[in-house]
Amino acid sequence: MAQRAVAISPVAGIGAATCVVVLILAALGAVLSRADLVAGLRLSAADWAAIRFTVSQAAVSALLSVILAIPVARALARRRFVGRAALVTLLGAPFILPVIVAVLGLLTVFGRNGWANDALDAVGLPQVSIYGFHGVVLAHVFFNLPLATRLLLQGWQQIPAERFRLGAQLRLTPRAMFRAVELPMLAQVVPGVAALIFAICLTSFAVALTLGGGPRATTVELAIYQAFRFDFDLGRAALLSVVQLVLAGGLSLLALQFVPQISVGGGLDRAVMRWDAGGRGRRVLDTGVIALAATFLLLPLTAVILRGAVGLPQMPGSVWYAAGVSIAVAGASIVVMLALALPMAGWIAIRRGGGTEAVGLLGLSASPLMIGTGWFILINPVADPFDFALPVTIAVNAMMALPFALRTLVPPMRDTVATYGRLSASLRLRGWRFWRIVLLPRLRAQIGFAAGLTGALSMGDLGVIALFADPERVTLPLQMYRLMGAYRMEAAAGAALLLLALSLGVFWLCDKGGRWRAEA
């Protein structure tokens, strides 16, 4: 193969990736340095059971989320209708809600006295229980289906309109169109999305515990939590953290290796016209798919909103202060995330293998408790950890969002570099000028999406802050839990609604900003 056109320098990307790796490994090292390693570390039978459960529920959840997302994203890509943009934004909501809020929303629909069971009762059918393995999977699909849909939708939007025009001229049937045009795109995007969701589900433990129904639903993250909190066995905590890193990182690496390198080629960025999508049957099918997905995702959200509206007037003023802190943290997380993600995406885009992207997954697969504790150990001897509560939270939030950002940024960046790299190089557009003139304008939509997701995720995060927090630096989710702890469930529901509104708001602002004056 001839020398590849490279207009991006890998230095910044390697630097950013090193930052991430150092941040995580330093934390791990710090935990290990304080661990009592004499005991001889081994994984117990219970640990193995936890690993098996963690992997199987994550695999099923990831697979189901992606499989269900394909028809939804396809239908959304083919259709234009009033409220589509709002729907697409709303679909982002479940993902960013604190677990307890989302779970209570789900229970309003699928719980013992939920709407679904009421409906089943009405027609004389037996009740369904949401607890158990299927409950965990249901909740994970609720959380991740929207994310998968959004990422796949972006894949569809990367296909140049000319492909569909050509397909239509050749009178390809929808099935042939799918095979010739859409399947190659899916083959490129799906493994990464599945790997991402797998990693997310791997580190979940509040969902798995609450809906799993008990000790059977023990995850590795819960074992880490127990090791830190109750046994204060840092050696075991570190060992389990490594297990989690290897599981999430390793399996994702494997998935990314199978991503075929397919470039969809340059197009004219016109609106995606779908000549193959006509016909009443297909229209009914798409409408049905969208309606089903929207019902599944929006009903629990409606429950959160209805309940929250009642509680809003009861919220004490401190909730608003916490909301302010959360907004500031979210803004800072976005900046840090972009500073890490853009150079890393550039570096990954000019490399041939996809393995480097796994570095991004490290941030997601590392336990926030491990990172928090590690940095606490590092900071404590030299400074007051309280002063670093917000910076550490911001850094961890940015790293958590990194894999989502990379998954969104890399494919279009790879295409842009492949398409315009040589031309730009011949025009001596290199380095910053290439970024400014070619890359950034073409990636606006993806950057906006990544920034919105980071802001929203950061808004709802309750990880590190709990370890470092003091009264002056309380974030909104933490304040919500404090309200619940003081029995003020209605006020907590109000705070949850505020959180939902803020998360959606920051997401909408960034996403809209990215697509301003551009065809979605």
């Binding site: 013992r112 008990g214 000790p215 059977r216 839990y481 702890g485």
Partner: protein
């Protein structure tokens, strides 16, 4: 002009902070108290305790909320002797043995005439409030009278995971204290009553209020909140005839404190009338020493167990490990 005004305002503000704030703090001694989250929240005892103590101590009380009791202890172990804390408040009898093992605590300066169902003999920690664990339910429920009846019924309960929450651990100790070697059988009988196990108290109580279960593991004092704060008398706590396990919340001074006298003053304040009268309707627990004014109206309606159960603090670690294994085995079937 706008910029000039802005610059002047900034300068003024900086000058004010530089000249006023340090001189104010330089003279006032500061006492740092680590406690759990819900204590320091606006609706917890924190703000009132702070105001009441600062009125008498001529000091600056700095209450720091850190998760729950278990998180508090973990935090202390992380900080070791470098800790800025002078007092730790919010550990319970399950955590006392582990806390003493750190060697960070000093003998307690408090000696009070406690109104506890048991005799308090610990010399390192002083109790400030306490409660009984209990299953809370709606009043219209025909509640079981003990764990055996619960196991035989088809009532649904929500409990907390002992590996991530202190009430969850309390339930383990409760069953173990009541039934000893019979505990595994009790858990096996109850396995089909457990709808689900949650990470913490908030999640479990939320599920119960949603109607996901008939009963939830909480405290006998939980109905007092609904009654007093919400004027809702629909909740009750089931009285179990084998006795109820107690949670006694304690405070202790750190040996490394740079203001030991102030720490002692605070610990004594916590068992005084001024503090004890605040706790029942903010922390929703019983006071360790009943204040002169007695318990608030509404507390007389609460379930009062015939028998109080408590495992001696030094026996907790061994029993906890055994009970956790038994619990995991019984519920994993």
């Amino acid at each position: 002009m706008k910029y000039l005004t802005f610059a002047a305002a900034t300068l003024g503000a900086t000058a004010a902070t530089t000249f006023l704030v340090p001189s104010a703090t330089a003279q006032t001694p500061e006492l740092t108290v680590y406690t759990y989250d819900s204590f320091v929240s606006d609706w917890g005892p924190g703000p009132q305790i702070e105001k009441a103590f600062e009125a008498v101590c001529e000091c600056d009380l700095n209450l720091v909320g850190l998760g729950d009791g278990a998180a508090l202890l973990a935090r202390l172990k992380l900080e070791g002797e470098r800790s800025d804390a002078d007092v730790v408040m919010g550990l319970d009898t399950s955590l006392i043995a582990a806390a003493k093992e750190t060697g960070l605590f000093a003998e307690t300066p408090v000696s009070a005439d406690y109104d506890l169902p048991i005799e308090w003999t610990d010399t390192v920690f002083a109790p400030y409030d306490w409660g009984y664990f209990a299953f809370v339910h709606n009043k219209d429920l025909d509640a079981p009278a003990n764990f055996k009846a619960l196991g035989e019924s088809d009532l649904k309960i929500v409990i907390q995971d002992p590996r991530s929450s202190t009430p969850g651990l309390g339930l383990l100790m409760w069953v173990k204290a009541a039934y000893g070697d019979e505990a595994p059988a009790i858990w096996e009988a109850m396995a089909d009553n457990v709808v689900t196990v949650t990470k913490g108290w908030s999640e479990a109580y939320g599920l119960f209020l949603e109607g996901e279960a008939d009963m939830v593991l909480s405290y006998t004092t939980s109905p007092a909140y609904h009654l007093i704060a919400e004027e809702d008398d629909s909740k009750a706590a089931a009285a179990f005839d084998e006795g109820h396990y107690m949670q006694i919340e304690v405070a202790g001074a750190l040996a490394g404190s740079d203001t030991p006298e102030l720490a002692a003053e605070f610990l004594n304040f916590m068992v005084s009338d001024a503090a004890q009268a605040i706790l029942p309707t903010t922390n929703w627990m019983y006071p360790a020493v009943i204040p002169e004014g007695g318990l608030p109206a509404g507390f007389e309606t609460l379930t009062t167990p015939e028998k109080a159960l408590l495992t001696p603090a030094d026996e907790v670690p061994a029993i906890r490990a055994e009970a956790l294994d038994e619990w995991l085995n019984a519920l994993s079937q």
